[in-house]
Symmetry: C2
Subunit: 189 residues, 2 copies
Amino acid sequence: MSPGPRHTDAGEDARVARTRADVGRAALEVLTQEDWDAVTHARVAEKAGYSKTTLYTHWPSKVDLVAIALDTIGDLPHHDRTGDLRTDLIGELVLFRTAVRDMRLDRVLLAMAQSASVEQMARVREDFNRRGQRLVRDSLAEAFSGARLEAAVSMISGVVACPTIMFGELPDDDVIAAAVDIVLAASDQ
Amino acid sequence: MSPGPRHTDAGEDARVARTRADVGRAALEVLTQEDWDAVTHARVAEKAGYSKTTLYTHWPSKVDLVAIALDTIGDLPHHDRTGDLRTDLIGELVLFRTAVRDMRLDRVLLAMAQSASVEQMARVREDFNRRGQRLVRDSLAEAFSGARLEAAVSMISGVVACPTIMFGELPDDDVIAAAVDIVLAASDQ
């Protein structure tokens, strides 16, 4: 037989992992379907089916709850690169728009920005947003470098992010295509 | 002598206006120097030097407090247009960057997005952001129209807004200039 303590630890680890997954999913649902203010230990505990005490024990602060919520998102869907720069950028922006609409990625972005004064959340945001922008950055790096690359990455992200954050609106297909064409008209190639 | 009731009303109006201005300033300070979660009736009342009861009477909800906070911002500083499109766009983006850094305009944008599910705040945000983007939009309308204009406005706004909201960073001068040059390279003129 395997040693008792190891066996017990493995069982405990599995239980903690399951609790973490359940609570993370519940917290993400509250954050994206309701809002930031709704993310309380009481509300998330109720939704996840655990006690408030369990939540406070493992995730004492609100930022802890938001951090495990973001963990459950995992990798965002990305466009499969075709090698054609225009097609890849448009495909990626359309997926970004879909994620805002269907996964309420805008509320996720806001929650991260909201709590970024906490060091732990600043790291989560940095990592999440770098991964989110990677395909756009890698694609644009074929045509731009230096300050022009930084500008192009922000501008391409901005065509979806700005109307979303500023007006709660999403860009039409023709606006997305126009943005990509404006950037590519200035490319080095 | 002027009629008593009218005199009293005018005195009352002036008192309410002064209270509103004091409370709005205090709420804006709490929002921009601390954060969204700090904007409570207790905290704002303490900072403004009024009773919580007074605040609850006039501004019963948190959104009411945030709305009068935004009112006290008034008009954002704008670049004086020179008529040279490149100079005007760069000047306006530099002012936008200054407002993020010095007035913590990023926290104002977040607070508005945060509470936009409330109809009252959606209107405040719409109005505030339209005014904020007006000079950029009017300038770009000299060179773009239709979907290309919408794309260009979001892209130019995005060069400051995206790094701010996504990474808590502000663009350097050369990134701002590069963004303006990329957009103008694609202009209709």
